[in-house]
Symmetry: C2
Subunit: 343 residues, 2 copies
DNA sequence: AATAGCACTCTTCAGCGTTGAGTGCTAACA
DNA sequence: TGTTAGCACTCAACGCTGAAGAGTGCTATT
């Protein structure tokens, strides 16, 4: 939309954005002229900056301070200026080795991933697990824990495990539970968890099951078992945002932390980011998170072997090192996808 | 150790501590005289305060400010002054109903509990799950996820579930996995996870298993399965400490958050708190957490049906509302113990 | 032993000029 | 016409000062 910028203006805008990202301080005309070894005087730069301000790309906190990029400027920067850094060999190594620190099932891998993202970016790493309910059912199992108390374990093709404590009306013997399990495993073979749920509800209305006690019990119990909870979300590196000067103020921070404590709303909002392919960037008020606090979000989807979709990314200040964060998120998403797709 | 305090001094000390807890500001002699409707003038109070200061129970940030309780004073306060509040009906209701929000297995209950603690106390709630390895083995199960990839699910008597992704040397068919499971369930019946682990190692040296391929494979796999990860720890309400004026400073906060990000060290330290019965209180530098940042910890043990021990409590500033936090922690620990002991 | 009075200390805050960074404008220049 | 040098202007930041206020410690008094 704002492509009507001369090469020189673009260059200057880029310089300002990058300077500001590096220092977090308003950048003045002379700094730009010097730093960029443009063969331009500060006066000329000033003229250009005045233009850019008029176009809504810069603001100044007060008359005699330098200029600060607006969200619009970041948007423009990210869309058409930023020179993406390569992911370094060392970073690649870290991503891969962390991903592979296997042995902990899906949650373990994703948690490690969010930690890695946080370490490499120096911001907050976030991973949204692929929706459990959209995944294909693999196995259900009941274990008797005590009188009228059984533990239901539900496994999906991705290797995600959900377990649920169920209080039953009658006491069930282990052999009975095994039979129930066999029946249900058969019943739900090849369905997604959501479909499985529907199948169970259907089956409960079915004539036959109403008269077969075992069946009807099995269905009643499994109905609770598949009522899975909300999807998982992993956030690591929360302390890192305290490094950012713009969040040294307690009130602003509180806002952010509170947003993350209610993972529920968080989830909803983040899942919106999964619509498109490739790296998505949400700047400032574009982010689905707390709108007031200059926060940006760089995300990408990843895909599992059973074709469910998750999301991972980095949350940081709007003034974020996009040139390195974007490639890192991109690469990590690819690696995680690959890892989770290995049959 | 400091019982040599006249009733009047005790009264004054109590007033100061409670005032300071309420306001977070140095409290002056006249405030004490007024507030407590003691038939004493501020001058008299001043004399007493001078004594208390000499005894190391008070300090003043500077000459003309009021006095602040030292850690020693809090200790004394907690040991012999504090008038514990009753847990209100409403609080009890909240604790019980949250605990009972069942259906999510052990982790779910504990997570809810830490959230409740945080809500009721307005500080941070923390729960350390009972050690998985000390708990009694209940069930093991293998599920084939893909070529040479199986998911091991290990359940303990408490209803704690650990799952682990295992890459195997050969591919295993489902029936084979079932047989392995049966064999291992038999083998580890009634043992704790730690003992089970040893049993497996023993068995691997055993002549018979070396020649029976199924056995040897089963053992090799299960050996990985029981190599469980560190215990779980649940922390909720991190945002709440931002409400405390003493932590409005970013540097101090960062210290705390970082302590919590390395759950590993946290675990070690917290598990020390589990030694004794009843409510334990750690004030300031007594806490196993970050030593520098005026933090206190009020904890209590809870016990599960299979007699393993966990820990729960509240973390807040040294200047904490002990009179209400202590009863809350106590009551919650009792309730959780009871809930987890219902067979 | 308790208190009233008083001098003293130290923080906090508002007011105030100084400094320096940075701008906008204008006039000169290529 | 685009670029530059120069200059007046603005405004936050800083340090200083003096007054206000809170609170103490000491001493004389009851």
């Amino acid at each position: 939309m704002d492509v009507e910028l001369s090469p020189r203006s673009r260059q200057i805008l880029e310089a300002i954005v990058e300077d500001y990202i590096a220092t977090a301080e308003p950048v003045g005309s002379s700094a730009v002229a010097r730093r960029h070894a443009l063969t331009l005087s500060s006066a000329t730069v000033r003229n250009v900056m005045a233009n850019l301000e008029e176009m809504g790309l810069l603001t100044s906190p007060h008359t005699s301070a330098g200029r600060i990029p607006t969200e619009k400027a970041y948007r423009f920067y990210v869309d058409s200026l930023v020179a993406l850094r390569q992911v370094s060999r060392d970073e690649k190594r870290q991503i891969i080795s962390h991903c592979r620190r296997a042995g902990a099932g899906l949650s373990g891998i994703l948690k490690e991933t969010s930690r890695t993202l946080s370490q490499l970016s120096n911001y907050m790493g976030i991973v949204l697990a692929p929706s459990f309910t959209a995944d294909v059912f693999r196995h259900i199992e009941f274990i008797r824990l005590g009188h009228r108390k059984i533990l239901a374990i539900l496994v999906s093709s991705n290797g995600a495990v959900q377990n649920r404590l169920i209080e039953t009306g009658e006491d069930h013997q282990p052999e009975e539970l095994v039979r129930m399990g066999n029946y249900l495993n058969e019943l739900m073979q090849g369905l997604t968890i959501t479909q499985a749920r529907e199948r169970i509800l259907d089956e409960m209305k079915n004539e036959k099951s109403q008269y077969d006690q075992l069946l009807s019990r099995a269905l009643r119990i499994s109905e609770q078992a598949v009522a899975v909870e909300g999807d998982e979300i992993f956030v690591e590196g929360q302390a890192r945002i305290l490094d950012q000067p713009e969040f040294s103020d307690a009130a602003r921070m509180k806002e952010i932390y509170e947003a993350f404590e209610q993972k529920g709303t968080m989830l909803q909002l983040l899942s919106r980011c999964m619509s498109a392919d490739g790296v998505q960037i949400y700047i400032g008020s574009e982010t689905p998170i707390s709108r007031s606090a200059g926060i940006s979000l760089v995300t990408s989807r990843f895909i599992t072997g059973s074709n469910t979709v998750g999301m991972l990314g980095v949350i940081g200040p709007t003034r974020m090192g996009y040139s390195s964060v974007i490639p890192i998120v991109d690469y990590t998403a690819r690696m995680v996808s690959r890892l989770l797709s290995e049959a």
